[in-house]
Symmetry: C2
Subunit: 208 residues, 2 copies
């Protein structure tokens, strides 16, 4: 099997709990997590380098010019990007890296890293998603409406993903995502070198 | 996700321990195991319906005529086949069924059940395989030679499989095969109905 790490792209409905799933994957299975850079302002409690790397627009644009992101996008007035150096260093060191990004970024990453694993986290149905989005109790009707609209848009992009994992029970979901990643390492496409080696070993000794 | 069970085809080098892996999958994860039918004579200790269903050549040929096998093949002088009814009943009942069969049968199954999962169990290299084949101590040189020749032929067929799982540590190997099966259930292709459902749910309410 290849010694390079795997790039794992995790997206999902807002409200499906993908943040918690990602946190679980890092804590339970030791995956490496890429922290995005953004030009949006830190929210109370957020820390530079933990939730995001907070950048000015100028800093961000310079990083774009220097090819510092493996993908970046603009949402409303803010920029978001995945720092290239961290990801490439980790992969080179054989670590599997999780990116928690949106569909546009996911497609972008896949075109550069064809063996990236694209996973979409969802609730088991739309009703559950709506319950979770409305049930937090802390948001006003307008915010909830915006979130549901966003989820509806996200639903249109599910086909772009290779795996759909339902987050019904958190711990099961974390284990299942881990299984998906493990399985990709066993896929034939990731073992062509191994296959060719073992065939050659037999052929060289003239045993066939 | 589909409620039908998955068909899991496990092949591998003689000496890679696939029999023990399959046993572990049944015991630890509750997979259903298909018992093959054969015309070869029972060996000491083998029981009808446990290792094989032992049939006469006439009985076997009648079963072929009645489409009683999902695949069958002749090796040397003996016939081997996978009884159709058991497999189809189990799949219909939502159970995942393991077939431990050779490459020819694997290809045959895949053409009839395109979403069958094809897994090849191997040692981590050829040397380890030879050690295992020669190290049993109970076989004469000629039998060992035949086994290695057979392994060399099997190596030529690895490409036919979708997943390559290395049996270095038995328990890890069993868990990895289980991961491969789990992950296939999450593959987009196995969730088209779910995807279309959730999209429709959003569209019907006019939320997009």
């Amino acid at each position: 099997m290849s010694n390079k790490g795997k790039l794992i792209v995790i997206s999902g409905f807002s409200g499906a709990g993908k943040g918690t799933v990602v946190k679980g994957l890092v804590e339970k299975y030791g995956y490496s997590l890429s922290i995005s850079a953004t030009t949006r302002n830190p929210r109370p409690g957020e820390e530079n380098g933990r939730e995001y790397y907070f950048k000015t627009v100028d800093e961000f644009k310079t990083l774009i010019d220097y090819n510092g992101f493996i993908e970046w996008a603009q949402y409303v007035d803010n920029y978001y990007g995945t720092p290239r150096k961290f990801v490439e260093d980790e992969l080179e060191a054989g670590k599997d890296v999780i990116l928690e990004i949106e569909v546009q970024g996911a497609m972008n990453v896949k075109s550069q890293y064809p063996d990236a694993v694209l996973i979409f986290i969802t609730t088991k149905d739309k009703e559950t998603l709506k319950e979770r989005l409305t049930g937090r109790g802390s948001e006003d009707a307008k915010t909830i409406e915006k979130r549901i609209k966003r989820a509806a848009e996200e639903a249109e992009s599910i086909d772009a993903y290779e795996y759909i994992v339902i987050n019904d029970d958190l711990s099961t979901c974390i284990d299942t995502v881990n299984s998906v990643i493990l399985s990709r390492k066993c896929a034939k496409e990731n073992n062509l070198e191994f296959i060719s080696q073992i065939k050659n070993d037999f052929r060289l000794e003239g045993e066939i």
